[in-house]
C-alpha cells in the first residue's frame, strides 16, 4: 500500500467501525449516506475536476439507475442483483446517447445542456405516472442479499457501500494517474493544443463522461436500496447542485475532496439540524465561508495552509525542483 493510499484506508476503516461504537443505527445509516454521496461526488469529480466540464445535471445518472432498479425489482419482479446490472447497463446506454448532445459544448453551454438533459428525465419521472408513480414515486424497493449477506441490517449495508467506495477510489486513483488521466487533464487545460498534437479530445471526454456516469449509477443503485424509495426529487436541479457543491467545497480535481465535501454536506444537512433549527442557513453560511477562505475547496486549501505553516518553521532549504510551466 502506497503512502498516498494510507489516509484513505484509515478513513474507510474508521467509517467501517462506526457500527461497533454507535449505540443507535442512526449514525450507521448516516455513515451509509455519506458513503453513497461520496461515490456520486467522486463520479462528478471526473467531469468537474479532471475534464473541466461543469455539469449541473449530474443527478440524472443516479436518478436513472435508481428508477431502473426500482422499477425492475418492484413492478418487473426481477431479482435485485440482476435488476442492478440491467439498470447499470441501461444508464450507461442513455449516458452514451446524452454524450452525443452534451459533449458538443463546453463551458456555460455544457452547464445548460446537462441541466436540460436532467430536466427531461426528471420531467418524464414526474409526468409518466403510470410507470414512475409520478411525484408519489416508487416504494418498496427490495435490497439484495440473503441469509449469507443480510443487507437489510444497517451495518452490512454500510459495509457494502464502503466496499463500493473503496473500489471507486482505487479505480479512479489509477485512472487519474494513467496516461489517459493525464491526457484528460490536458484536454481540460489546453483542448486545442491537445487536438493539435493528435489527441482525440472528444473521445477522451467521452471516456470521462462514461466513467462519471458509471459511478453516478453505482451511487444511484445504492441510493435506491438505501432509501427503498425513489421519487423525482432525486433528479431535481437542487439535487444536481448539491453534488456539485460537494465536489467544489471539498476540492475539485483531488481524490479526497469529494469525500470531504460529501461528508460535510450530508452531516451539515442531517446532523446539524438536530441542534440547529435554521440549518439551511448554516449550510449556506458554511459555503460562503469556504468560498471566501478556500476558493478552490477544503483539500487544496488545507494543503496550502500546511505548506505555509511549514514555511514558517525554519527547516532545510527547499530543494530546487523544476516547475512545470502552466502553458505546457
Amino acid at each position: 500500500m502506497s503512502a498516498r493510499a494510507l489516509p484513505f484506508a484509515v478513513a474507510l476503516a474508521a467509517m467501517a467501525m462506526v457500527p461497533l461504537f454507535s449505540t443507535s443505527p442512526f449514525y450507521v445509516n448516516l455513515t451509509s449516506q455519506v458513503t453513497i454521496a461520496a461515490i456520486g461526488a467522486l463520479g462528478l469529480n471526473v467531469l468537474v475536476g479532471h475534464a473541466g466540464l461543469n455539469s449541473l445535471g449530474f443527478a440524472v445518472f443516479p436518478g436513472l439507475a435508481a428508477y431502473l432498479v426500482a422499477w425492475l425489482s418492484t413492478v418487473g419482479g426481477i431479482d435485485p442483483v440482476f435488476a442492478a446490472l440491467v439498470a447499470l447497463g441501461g444508464t450507461l446506454a442513455v449516458a452514451a446517447l446524452f454524450a452525443l448532445v452534451a459533449l458538443r459544448t463546453t463551458g456555460l453551454g455544457f452547464v445548460m445542456i446537462t441541466m436540460a438533459l436532467c430536466q427531461i428525465v426528471w420531467g418524464a419521472a414526474y409526468r409518466w405516472t403510470s410507470v414512475t408513480g409520478g411525484d408519489n414515486g416508487l416504494s418498496g424497493v427490495p435490497r439484495p442479499g440473503g441469509a449469507w449477506l443480510p443487507l437489510e441490517k444497517p451495518e452490512y449495508f454500510l459495509w457494502l457501500c464502503l466496499a463500493v467506495l473503496a473500489l471507486a477510489l482505487v479505480q479512479l486513483g489509477r485512472f487519474f494517474d494513467s496516461p489517459l488521466g493525464v491526457a484528460l487533464r490536458g484536454t481540460r487545460d489546453q483542448p486545442r493544443r491537445m487536438g493539435a498534437v493528435g489527441y482525440d479530445v472528444w473521445r477522451i471526454r467521452f471516456v470521462a463522461w462514461m466513467l462519471a456516469a458509471a459511478w453516478g449509477a453505482a451511487a444511484g443503485l445504492l441510493y435506491a436500496w438505501y432509501h427503498q424509495f425513489v421519487s423525482p426529487h432525486m433528479m431535481a436541479v437542487t439535487a444536481s447542485a448539491e453534488v456539485l457543491l460537494m465536489v467544489v467545497a471539498g476540492g475539485a480535481g483531488t481524490l479526497a475532496g469529494p469525500l470531504i465535501g460529501a461528508a460535510l454536506v450530508v452531516l451539515l444537512k442531517n446532523l446539524a439540524s438536530i441542534w440547529i433549527d435554521r440549518w439551511v442557513m448554516l449550510l449556506g453560511f458554511t459555503f460562503v465561508v469556504i468560498v471566501l477562505l478556500m476558493p478552490d475547496g477544503i483539500v487544496p486549501g488545507f494543503n496550502r495552509l500546511t505548506a505555509s505553516l511549514k514555511r514558517l518553521r525554519p527547516g532545510p532549504a527547499p530543494k530546487l525542483v523544476p516547475r512545470e510551466r502552466a502553458d505546457g
Binding site: P25, R127, H227, N270
Partner: protein, 415 residues
C-alpha cells in the same frame, strides 16, 4: 480533595432528590412520552408546515403538555419537503430519539418515502395532512393512520352536490398536475358523472406554472362551471387570474383551493366559490367554535386544513394514550387504540376511523362569502359520516386502480 467533596455532595443531593421523588405519585416518575413531529420549515411547503406547528402547539397547550397523565416531550424536525431528508429525519426520531409515536409528515410523497421504513421498525404514525389515496387503501400500512381525509373524500360529495343540488350538466376541470390534484379531480368526476353530469374538458397546469393565462383561455365557455383543484398558493393565483379574464363561468372548488390558510390573502375573486371539505373554520360542530376562536386569538388567523389536521392528529394520539392509561411503551396496544379512536368533539366534530385507518367524518359544502370584514367559507350543506369510499362498495373500490390523471376514464371529453 475538593473535587471529591463536590462529587460526594452532589451524589448526596441526588439521593435526597430521588427519595423525595419516590414519595410523589407513580405517574410523576414515568419518563415523558416522546412524540416526533415532522414539519416543513424550508421550501415551498413551509407555509403549511407553520400552520401545522400552530395546530400542534395549540393542542399540547390545551392539554398542559400532558397526555394520559404523562408529560409529553415533543421533538420537532424539519423535513425540508424532500423525501430523502424525510427518511433520515424519521430514522433520527426512531433510532436516536426513540420516540413513541410520530405525527407527520406533511406531504404525500414524504409519507410514501417513509412507508416501508415505518413498516420495518413498527412505530405508530399519524399523518396530519398527507392525503394520498393509497396510504389507507391499496397500500395500507398497519402502523399508519391519518387525521385527514383522502384527496377525493370530500370531492365525491361535491360531485354529487354539483349534479343534484346545483343541477350542473357540463363541467370543465382544472387542477394541479400532481397526485393530489389528479386524485381530487378523479373523485369529483366519478361522483359527478355517476349522478348524470359530464366532465367535458380536463386541464392540468404544472404545479409551479407562473401564469395560468394560457390555461384559462382554453377553458370552454359553453359549460356550467369550472371545477378547480389547487394546493398551496396556486388556488390564490388561479382565482385572481381567472377574475382578470372576466370569470366567464362560475367556479366550484376542491377544499385547499379556498383554504383558510390562503383565503386571508384573497379578495373579491373568491366570493361565491362553492367548495367542499371536512374542515372550515366556520363549521358548526361540537368543539370547533372554541378551537377556531382559540387559534384566532393566539395566532391572529383562521385555522385551515393544516392547522386542523395537526390538531386532530394530536387529539387522536391523546385519546389513544388515555385509552391505554399512558402505557405507550406497548406499541401494539397504542396502535390498536389509535385505530379505534372515536372523538366526540374537535375541529372535525364527531370523527371515527374506518378499518383502514382513515377518518369517517362530516363533509360540508361551503360558499365563500365576505363576513365580519373577512372572507369565510359559510356552510350550506352537510353530508354526515362520509367515508373515503363515498357510497361505493369498499371491496369493489379497492379492486379498481387508484385514482389518477386517467382513471376513472373521462368518457365525455369534447362533447
Amino acid at each position: 480533595m475538593p473535587t471529591l467533596t463536590k462529587r460526594t455532595t452532589a451524589s448526596w443531593l441526588a439521593a435526597t432528590a430521588l427519595s423525595a421523588l419516590a414519595a410523589l405519585p407513580a405517574a410523576a416518575q414515568q419518563p415523558p412520552i416522546k412524540i416526533g413531529f415532522m414539519t416543513v420549515r424550508s421550501g415551498a411547503l413551509a407555509a403549511g408546515g407553520k400552520q401545522m406547528e400552530q395546530g400542534m402547539e395549540y393542542c399540547l397547550a390545551e392539554r398542559n403538555g400532558m397526555m394520559g397523565g404523562r408529560k409529553v416531550e415533543l421533538i420537532t424536525v424539519d423535513t425540508a419537503g424532500q423525501p430523502a431528508t424525510t427518511k433520515t429525519r424519521a430514522q433520527e426520531l426512531v433510532e436516536r430519539e426513540r420516540v413513541n409515536a410520530i405525527i407527520g409528515p406533511l406531504a404525500a410523497f414524504e409519507a410514501l418515502a417513509i412507508d416501508d421504513y415505518i413498516r420495518q421498525v413498527g412505530v405508530p404514525v399519524i399523518s396530519p395532512s398527507a392525503a394520498a389515496e393509497d396510504l389507507t387503501q391499496r397500500k395500507q400500512n398497519p402502523w399508519f393512520v391519518r387525521a385527514v381525509g383522502t384527496s377525493a373524500q370530500a370531492n365525491h360529495a361535491l360531485g354529487e352536490y354539483a349534479a343534484k343540488d346545483l343541477k350542473l350538466k357540463r363541467v370543465v376541470t382544472i387542477g394541479d398536475d400532481f397526485a393530489f390534484g389528479h386524485e381530487a379531480t378523479a373523485g369529483f368526476q366519478r361522483a359527478f358523472e355517476d349522478n348524470g353530469g359530464q366532465v367535458v374538458q380536463k386541464l392540468w397546469p404544472p404545479l409551479n406554472v407562473a401564469d395560468y393565462g394560457s390555461y384559462i383561455s382554453q377553458i370552454r365557455t359553453d359549460v356550467d362551471a369550472v371545477y378547480a383543484a389547487f394546493a398551496g398558493g396556486n388556488g390564490l393565483r388561479f382565482l385572481q387570474q381567472y377574475a382578470e379574464y372576466g370569470a366567464p363561468v362560475k367556479v366550484i372548488a376542491q377544499m385547499t383551493t379556498v383554504d383558510e390558510g390562503i383565503l386571508k390573502s384573497m379578495g373579491k375573486e373568491a366570493v361565491g366559490v362553492i367548495s367542499s371539505g371536512w374542515y372550515t373554520a366556520t363549521q358548526d360542530v361540537p368543539g370547533n367554535k372554541e378551537f377556531a376562536a382559540g387559534i384566532r386569538a393566539k395566532y391572529g388567523a383562521d385555522p385551515g386544513y393544516y392547522t386542523a389536521g395537526a390538531y386532530e392528529a394530536c387529539a387522536f394520539l391523546d385519546a389513544a394514550v388515555k385509552a391505554i392509561d399512558g402505557k405507550v411503551e406497548d406499541k401494539q396496544a397504542l396502535m390498536k387504540a389509535l385505530r379505534s379512536v372515536k372523538l366526540e368533539k374537535g375541529p372535525y366534530g364527531e370523527v371515527t376511523l374506518d378499518e383502514y385507518g382513515n377518518p369517517i367524518m362530516n363533509v360540508t359544502i361551503r360558499k365563500t362569502e365576505e363576513k365580519d370584514g373577512r372572507l369565510q367559507n359559510v356552510v350550506i350543506k352537510t353530508y354526515p359520516k362520509v367515508t373515503q369510499f363515498w357510497t361505493y362498495d369498499p371491496k369493489a373500490f379497492l379492486a379498481e386502480p387508484v385514482y389518477s390523471r386517467d382513471y376513472p376514464p373521462a368518457k365525455n371529453l369534447g362533447k
